[in-house]
Amino acid sequence: MLNGGDQALDADAAIISIRGLKTQFDSVVIHDDLDLDLMRGEILGVVGGSGTGKSVLMRAIIGLKRPTAGTVRVFGEDFYRVGEAGRLAIERRWGVLFQGGALFSSLTVAQNVMAPIREHLNVSDKLAEEMAALKISMAGLPPDAGAKYPSELSGGMRKRAGLARALALDPEIVFLDEPTAGLDPIGAAQFDELIVNLKNSLGLTVFMVTHDLDSLYADCDRIAVLAENRVIEIGPLEEVRRADHAWIREYFAGPRGRAAGMSHA
């Protein structure tokens, strides 16, 4: 484990484990008795139809949507019961890329990346700038993007800038909500490659919500399928696609599923 260093021993352990999760908006139940494990060093792809609660699941894990029941254990600690200091300590160890990038519009890209660095690390401005430049370049942006405002960027560049900010504190886990949605196929493929590269070189663990079949084939070690308020199937792609469930069959056997499967065979 590169990034984990001292935690290398428990390489097989679940870095996040969710048990009996229930979330709801008023009386509308989104998840019910949902179990899910995220293993250290893997890329887990979460798929499911629109509105099945993939984004909500991600928000429940990162503390933005309090579950009504169940536990979310992160790095072995119960995230919703560790208290303020414990939460902050955990939050520093992950990075999040939101569906729309969620960059601060009044800051330039470099300032966006520097925001968490300034907030959490006791470093000089100069070092913070160097660290931001590193992350911006690692996310695949040209250096001159640093001084641009989010409104001056294309959708794909905004995603990359969001990723640079998510990576700012060298997190152990990154959460990605549909990272390739809205990118052109070339840009999407580059983004896939980037994520796999970062995972390999930094030892990241990745939780990725995606609709992009190519991403699933290219990136993911395991896939979790969300339907009927829970995870109906989880495992390596090959296993999951053989599962006997109407939605899964349609998903992988449909024209797009077949095309993506063929090109990655």
């Binding site: 590169l2 330039t108 470099a110 931001a132 590193l134 690692m138 640093g146 001084a147 989010p150 930094l202």
Partner: protein, 375 residues
């Protein structure tokens, strides 16, 4: 264990031994010393010894590469040595990403910026004046078009905005007018007492509330309450590209969004101004009864005697004009929003400031006009 380093020089080759955890959170403590070492090492060959390194992240790797690459004078004798495979791989991984990037837009002369802003501001005022005029033109022609084909009038939408911008504003407008009426009466009573002419408080309250305060207070509150709401509503639709979607679907945003709001406000404001005037009079009357012993009956009788109905009309006539300008400016600023949420905030502020300014200007014109025609 925090990050640390030590160095020695031997045979003109500098050796840097790094130890501990070179992670982002520990780097702040050593960065200054490391930069000094980096500056001193320029021009010498350098070996960075990684054997005692216990932890490394991209920030640490970047810093080590920065030291290594501080000058071009190093020969092949310079290299990293020892350390785990993983650490070496990480150090190699960050190497191509070392180029600095600008953080802020390029620096510019503040004096030039000042001039630039001044010019921009003046030109912007001119342009936005023209734009508002042409927007008014578009609204009026759309209104004319819809008037010929009244089926196109969105009655539901008009009713909705009449409720939201009109009915819902009644309590606050009523309350404020009541208080202002009372304050005017109180001030009048106090001043007029000096001349033993307290009874003229009735004229003072009647004239000022009917001609000015009623309608003006209604307009001011509407500008702050409804004009800004129009800007925010239309502006957020603009950000989400709803306005563009409307255009491509053959819907005219002026007809769908601007007209109903304008019509609703023009219809409601006279009513609100009337309410404001009445409550202003009541407020004045109450103070008169309390502080001057002018009974409500006497107050009314004196009003009837000395204040003609034309004073009431002089006030209420202004209401639709104010309403029109508030609605149009609010919608116009909403349509001018672009891109970011920040622009939405700026436009909302502008909308309130501009409509208040225009309301006062129009009010002044009316005053001069009334003076000329002796109304």
């Amino acid at each position: 264990m925090a990050a640390a380093f030590s160095f020695e020089t031997r045979d003109d080759i500098w050796r840097l031994r790094v130890s501990g955890e070179w992670r982002a959170r520990f780097l702040g403590d050593i960065d200054e010393d490391l930069r000094k070492f980096q500056a001193d090492s320029v021009g010498h060959d350098l070996i960075i010894d990684l054997d005692d390194l216990t932890g490394l992240d991209t920030a640490g790797a970047m810093v080590l590469q920065r030291v290594m690459r501080a000058c071009t004078a190093r020969t092949t004798a310079s290299h990293f040595r020892g350390g785990s495979r993983a650490h070496r791989a990480l150090i190699e991984h960050v190497e191509p990403h070392l180029q600095p990037c600008p953080v802020e837009p390029p620096w510019r002369d503040p004096f030039l910026l000042l001039l630039n802003r001044l010019g921009r501001g003046a030109y912007g005022a001119y342009i936005s004046g023209i734009k508002i005029l042409s927007f008014i033109g578009v609204v009026v022609t759309t209104l004319a078009r819809v008037a010929r084909d009244p089926k196109r009038l969105r009655v539901t939408s008009i009713a909705h905005h009449m409720e939201e911008a009109g009915l819902d504003a009644m309590p606050i407008i009523g309350l404020v007018s009541f208080l202002v009426g009372a304050v005017v009466a109180y001030m009048g009573a106090k001043t007029l007492k000096i001349f033993n002419a307290e009874i003229f408080t009735v004229e003072l309250v009647g004239l000022s509330v009917l001609r000015e305060f009623g309608v003006l207070l209604a307009a001011i509150l509407l500008a702050g309450r409804s004009g800004s709401a129009f800007t925010a509503q239309i502006g957020s639709m603009k950000i989400r590209e709803e306005i563009d979607a409307m255009r491509t679907l053959g819907l005219d945003p002026i007809e769908v969004l601007v007209l109903p709001r304008t019509i609703a406000l023009v219809l409601m404001t006279p009513i609100l101004a009337f309410l404001a005037a009445m409550l202003g009079l009541i407020g004045g009357g109450l103070v008169a009864a309390q502080a001057l012993d002018v009974s409500p009956v006497l107050f009314l009788a004196r009003m009837e005697e000395s204040i003609t109905i034309s004073n009431f009309w002089a006030g209420i006539i202004k209401a639709p004009f104010f309403a029109f300008i508030i609605a149009v400016v609010g919608c116009f600023q909403g349509m001018e929003v672009e891109g970011s949420a920040e622009s939405l905030g700026q436009r909302t502020t502008l909308s309130v400031v501009q409509s208040l300014f225009l309301v006062i200007v129009i009010d002044a014109f009316f005053a001069m006009f009334y003076l000329e025609i002796d109304f």
